[in-house]
Amino acid sequence: MVDVPAGPAPARITDSAWRVRTRRGGELLMSLLKNPTTVAGLVFIVLLLGMAIFAPLIAEPNTPDAYQMPRDWGALAVPPGSPGHILGTTNVGGDVLYGVVWGARTSLRLSVIVVSLTVLIGVTVGSIAGFRGGKVDEILMRIVDVFLSIPELIFALAIAAVLGPSFRNIILALAVVFWVKYARIMRAQIIHVKENEYVDAARVIGDSPLRIYLKDILPNSITPVVVQATLDMGNIVLVGATLSFIGLSEAGIAEWGVLVSEGQSGISAGRWWSSTFPGMMVFLWALGFNLFGDGLRDVLDPKTESTR
């Protein structure tokens, strides 16, 4: 009468919840590492994060504010390979290597702050809208729709312009613009997950709405948010650098977009390096998180491969 276990990995009696969960995490990691492009993404991420974390060791700051580019007035616009300036300098004597290294740190700061803020706001708003439904949902979603009708870069540009050019304002502008995406994903997920019979089963047991939300709905609807957050770790640096490139950061800070912008005027004179290297860093950063996020999506939720 007793069914033979159908699943893989015959469980032992000595199993504990903790051990089973760790094993599951391990399996997840293994399937992530099977995909070469995901691994490539991970490698980029690790290298860039390493650069950000060990920036003071790689390029020692000699200004009071390490995020300010040091200026070498004796070596303006020297090409790569010059002594003391491996990647050359900008028109105003900024060391490109220093900018590249410390730019990683700036980018990390930007993306971590913006992603955590926007995920928090977006998930909260989306959860309220999706879980409560009715009028609340209607109003919140109209607000979200309004935010989504302004193309994101233009919106951020306008906010940053009104607030005045500074890196802090870029962070603020991006946070205002990016949360809506999460609200929308989260709401759609919740409405979908709410239909599952395990939610009904929990209601029949008599569990409270809050616990149903925390145990049944949230864990089953958070995956696309995690994937989107991974992708946004890259995207936010991309948009942030674009804003800096247009000129919305303080001049002279160690930020990739600012460096590209500084180098731009020298291009027609053949001074390609001070734009090319920092720009490539933005690309690699975004590429790393995009590749990894893509692999993450395939592993966590193979069916929603096409949602974005």
Binding site: M1, V2, D3, V4, A6, P8
Partner: protein
């Protein structure tokens, strides 16, 4: 009518050639954990005009077998691991024009003669003299002329098997365009390409071969007349096909989208599409599973009626033994990638020999069972990853003997038309004396 009344095992003569013979078919699937032997040595014949039921539970390989006929198993992950599906196209008996006469055993149909020996019998046709096509070997192009034309298929969920973005009429029309282009041209009076360009274009249109530019040309005044005629011709045919399945007001249904029809109606459309070209073999893969009982009964009636009028052979796939009892002449029971028993319908139900068949029949709740006393088959279907050379039912079988796990039973004929793959029914007492025929495991 009833197909099973008075048809005993002996009463189903199979003197006439089978329309299709499956020989040792093996289809495997590559998976993360190993190669799954989903279909592993399946052999059966479908006689001309016969309805064969292929029954089994989830994952037994019945659908894979059916899909193999038309090469619809996705490869990869599927692997053609061996065997053959021989198909023998038939046509209306020329001497009686379908009325039934001596030469065709009153069936009104005759197998097409072999190309190479013209009926004499040679290597290529297995000395039967009939045109024999191995469906697993022929080219994609040749297969396309058979699909939907000589062998048609009905799917389980008619809601998914119809394209949601195309009106019903256009979908049914495709069959005619693909296989009856010449007839359509004749209907439209455009068969002998009157104008050079227009004739060629309209012929391409009838074969669904036109590009966008050509379509545009056809919509211009000089050619539009011919195009309209062609479209009218195909619409008449589509309406006829739909009417054949008792769809009321077919001209109206043609303009509808699939989601606007009920489940039963959609399945009728699928059937209309399948029998449009009067195929030799109709493969019905659980055609009523997604339908309500009262609707299901209508569809079964329809299939039976069409099968009789067109003398089509049917391969009916189902998990439901009681349904199969209604429509089939003969039943083959599948378990874990093998056929364990096959016989005329009445003998399967009155005299099942394989313990699995017995278990399946006993598990159906009926008035005769005391509540809580259903005969349940213990355990689960085995995983088919590199299975050992043993009976696949071993481990769940109440009659299990040592030989069952050591040897692999072959299908054995026990009475005429009744085959069983089990040791217990043809072995004398004493384990040592059990037959030890092993099937070759690849």
């Amino acid at each position: 009518m009833s197909l099973i009344d008075g048809i005993g095992p002996e009463a189903a003569p199979r003197a006439r050639p089978a329309v299709a013979s499956v020989k040792d078919l093996r289809v495997h699937f590559r998976s993360k954990v190993g190669v799954v032997h989903a279909v592993d040595g399946v052999s059966f014949d479908i006689g001309d005009g016969e309805t064969l039921g292929l029954v089994g539970e989830t994952g037994c390989g019945k659908s894979v077998t059916a899909r193999s006929f038309l090469d619809l198993v996705p490869m990869p992950p599927g692997i053609k691991a061996g065997g053959a599906i021989e198909f023998r196209p038939h046509h209306t008996c020329p001497s009686c024009d379908g009325a039934g006469c001596e030469t065709c055993d009153d069936s009104g149909r005759q197998a097409e003669p072999c190309d190479s020996c013209n009926g004499g019998g040679c290597e290529g046709c297995g000395h039967t003299g009939q045109r024999t096509i191995d469906l697993l070997e022929i080219s994609e192009k040749d297969l396309q002329t058979i699909r939907g034309n000589r062998i048609a298929m009905i799917f389980q969920d008619p809601g998914k098997a119809l394209n949601p973005a195309l009106p019903i009429g256009e979908q049914v029309a495709e069959v005619f365009f693909q296989h009856r282009a010449d007839d359509l041209l004749a209907d439209a009076g455009a068969s002998d390409g009157t104008e050079a360009l227009g004739g060629a274009l309209i012929q391409r249109k009838a074969g669904l071969k036109t590009s966008r530019i050509e379509d545009f040309l056809l919509s211009l005044p000089p050619l539009r007349g011919q195009r309209t005629k062609l479209m009218a011709a195909v619409q008449t045919r589509v309406a006829e096909a739909l009417a054949e399945t008792q769809i009321p007001n077919p001209r109206k249904v043609m303009d509808r989208y699939p989601h606007e029809l009920s489940g039963g109606m959609r399945q009728r459309v699928m059937i209309a599409q399948a029998i449009a070209c009067d195929p030799d073999l109709l493969i019905a893969d659980e055609p009523t599973t997604a339908l309500d009982v009262t609707v299901q009964a209508r569809i079964l009636e329809l299939i039976r009626d069409l099968q009789q009028r067109h003398r089509t052979s049917v391969l009916y796939i189902s998990h439901d033994l009681s349904l199969v009892k209604e429509v089939c002449d003969r039943v083959a029971v599948m378990y874990a990638g093998r056929i364990v028993e096959s016989a005329a319908t009445s003998s399967i139900f009155t005299d099942p020999h394989h313990p699995y068949t017995q278990g399946l029949l006993a598990a159906i709740p009926s008035a005769n069972h005391e509540r809580g006393r259903l005969v349940a088959i213990p355990g689960n279907v085995p995983e088919l990853i590199d299975p050992p050379a043993a009976c696949r039912f071993a481990g769940r079988c109440p009659y299990e003997a040592p030989a069952c796990t050591a040897h692999d039973p072959l299908a054995t004929t026990i009475t005429a038309n009744h085959e069983v793959a089990c040791f217990i029914h043809h072995a004398p007492a004493g384990d040592e004396e059990r037959p030890t025929w092993d099937r070759k495991v690849r």
